[in-house]
């Protein structure tokens, strides 16, 4: 499978996660988000940016409960809770947001 971005083919796995994190760009993210039927807002991008920072530091895509806890620590309890994050990413804040962020499927996601 693959995404077509600005005339370039970006390879992904059967679930839509990028094969090569190095191929990620904002345009790629927008295409993936469209594929997921998400209208991206600043609140969505805040989570995406945070996930990319987390991956940079730990080389891992966090499981959903780890993400919720980390967001709570960074942005406060009004954002660091399941309800807020599931409203932004209905198919799972870790799985769906990681996909858009170009990261692998979260480790420890059951």
């Amino acid at each position: 499978m693959s995404y077509e971005v600005n005339g370039k083919t970006i390879e992904c796995d059967e679930e839509g996660y990028l094969e090569d994190i190095g191929e990620w760009s904002l345009d790629v993210a927008k295409i993936i988000a469209k594929d997921e039927n998400l209208d991206m807002t600043d609140e969505h991008w805040e989570v995406i940016d945070y996930l990319r920072e987390y991956y940079d530091e730990y080389q891992i895509a966090p499981a959903v409960r780890v993400l919720v806890k980390a967001i709570k620590k960074k942005f406060g309890p009004e954002k660091g809770n399941n309800k807020y994050l599931y409203e932004l990413f209905p198919y799972g804040p870790a799985k769906q947001a990681c996909k858009i962020a170009g990261l692998p499927k979260p480790t420890g996601c059951v």
């Binding site: 594929d35 730990y58 080389q59 780890v66 799972g92 480790t107 420890g108």
Partner: protein, 146 residues
């Protein structure tokens, strides 16, 4: 694409003591990475998890690993995320460290937040003797070694 919604499973009532015993160097083989992924997955099930690093396994926590020339992903920094996964017990065997000329200062800092102490950050790594590890091992329900 994927239409399965993430769920958190309730596993209340079945808590066992799991020890993951790491005895191999981090790079060059796949054992350390596979073990680390197993540990992260097991953390989702709210079990009592501890990790032991002995023999060449102590190198898994060594700071400053450079994997460029062996063409492997550098996952050394992932050990720092263990605290986020509520893994609070990383035992490093003193004899193995000493035999390799290492001290605790050569190891990556891993911290966890103590829920019972106003979320204070505490070090997860404890250097213990071989005899202490034998005692800990005796207490486990499951020991997984690689």
């Amino acid at each position: 694409m994927s239409d399965d919604i993430e769920t958190e499973f309730e596993t209340e009532g079945v808590e066992k003591k799991f020890m993951f015993l790491n005895r191999k160097a981090p790079y060059g083989t796949i054992y350390a990475l596979e073990m680390l992924e197993t540990v992260l997955i097991s953390a989702a099930f709210d079990q009592d998890v501890s990790l032991v690093f002995m023999d060449d396994g102590v190198y898994q926590l060594k700071k400053g690993c450079d994997t460029k020339s062996v063409n492997m992903k550098n996952f050394s920094s992932t050990y720092k995320a263990l605290g986020d996964y509520d893994i609070q017990k990383l035992y490093v065997e003193r004899e193995s460290l000493e035999a390799r000329g290492l001290t605790v200062d050569d190891l990556t800092e891993v911290v966890y937040e103590d829920e019972d102490d106003d979320w204070a950050e505490k070090p997860a790594i404890r250097v213990v003797s071989r005899d202490e590890i034998a005692v800990l091992m005796e207490e486990q329900d499951v020991v997984i070694s690689a």
